[in-house]
């Protein structure tokens, strides 16, 4: 498969998301507060996987069953229906594995009445890796991620952004980066909106003129950050938790920047 280069932020987002997938033993990145809100009305484990998945999850979730109507069922999850280039999906002893990583399938009733099947890690059933519609069409779960950041370059200077990072993994306090830094350039007077970042910790380094500012930001579902670049410095804001004092607006003093 030939690789092509997308927007660096998008590329990093995909890479970081996939790191979570392959690190099957990692600590859950999302807690219940940050779980994806998708408008799903009710959820149930697909019947044939229920026992195995529950065992894998140490009991699993307690959900009100939804009578399946035109829903995709376990029988419909035929590995051959999964696009070959999307990876290898196999069943072994009642458990499913995607490229060697255990996954579970949960059946969801959408708000419009349609039903779908989500493929996710056993400990992250609210975070779909892939979603299969009632028509049997698969799509990436990335479309559910909605971490957002708006970067406003109010200066006459070109701003260079180096972006790296990844999920924090339970190996002491070690920070496990996901990939090499990606570079992005903002032209003078440019506004950049990105609204589909997966959860994780991202290292931002802004360089313009002779100034350089670095900050690691933690993204969860529904995160909404604003970065305003001015000649004197950078204002960093969390729309969901606005700073209480003007001093905290400055990226140099911002409590949003984690170590």
């Amino acid at each position: 498969m030939r690789l092509v280069r997308p927007d660096p932020l998008v590329k990093l987002a995909f890479a970081i998301g996939l790191v979570l997938l392959v690190l099957a033993a990692c600590v859950p990145v999302l807690d219940s507060q940050s779980a994806i809100e998708t408008g799903v009305a009710q959820t149930q484990q697909v019947s044939g996987l229920e026992t195995a998945a529950a065992q894998a999850q140490g009991g699993g979730q307690t959900q009100t069953p939804v009578p399946p109507t035109a829903a995709p069922t376990l029988a419909a999850i035929d590995p051959s229906t999964f696009g070959a280039d999307a990876g290898e999906l196999v069943e072994q002893n009642g458990l499913w594995y995607w490229n060697g990583t255990q996954v579970v399938f949960t059946q969801h009733a959408e708000s419009d009445g349609s039903l779908s099947v989500w493929m996710s890690l056993p400990d992250e059933t609210d975070w779909p890796l892939f979603i299969m519609s009632s028509e049997g069409v698969w799509r990436l779960g990335i479309e559910e991620w909605n971490g957002a950041i708006t970067i406003v370059n109010t200066t006459e200077l070109t701003v260079d952004l180096s972006l790296a990072g990844g999920p924090r993994v339970a190996e002491g306090e070690a920070f496990t980066g996901s990939a090499e830094a990606q570079e992005q350039q903002f032209t003078p007077y440019e506004i950049f909106n990105f609204s589909s970042l997966p959860p994780g910790d991202y290292d931002f380094t802004f360089t313009y003129g002779t100034a350089q500012y670095a900050c690691t930001l933690h993204f969860e579902q529904n995160s909404k950050y604003h970065v305003i670049i001015v000649p004197e410095g950078i204002a960093l804001l969390d729309e969901n938790s606005p700073p209480q004092t003007a001093a905290e607006v400055n990226i140099l003093n911002s409590p949003l920047c984690i170590d």
């Binding site: 498969m1 997308p6 995909f14 392959v22 696009g83 496990t176 032209t187 604003h226």
Partner: protein
Amino acid sequence: MKKYEFSLSLAVLALAILACANLTVTNKDEKETAIVHITLPGGDGGTRPLAPGEVYTKFASEGGEYTVKVLPSEAYLKKLKETEQKASDVLKNPTAYSASAISDALHAFFEIPTTIAALAAGTACKGELPDLEEILVPGGNTGEGDIPTVALTIRFDDVNSVWTCN
């Protein structure tokens, strides 16, 4: 990260890329700079001045409707100048801001994307970018190839004093 893990990331990354598209806007005018505002499916996008001959490329990770607008330059630059002055003042004189004053300032900052998007636009193009469902069909072959690119051009119409888009 272990090597095989990153390889897996890239493999699926490539799959996802194949399912998405690039949107390019080229300023074909020979004299005028345009303020180009792009909104992609899912809410991604951006705004920037586009000088004659320049190309603005945005990568769309989702399929669906896109919109391209040419915004009024004066209003856009005025808004950015106001933002710069306010943010600079907050950074330089934090003690001068009471709780209510900083709240007002922050509200204005949070509204920037909405304010910019609402600027009166004389030119707008809309279209559809391919969706992932078109790639990951059951038994389908994702195949290989470049990212599909949707290319638009803008040009200033001197006679009617408006930007045209096609």
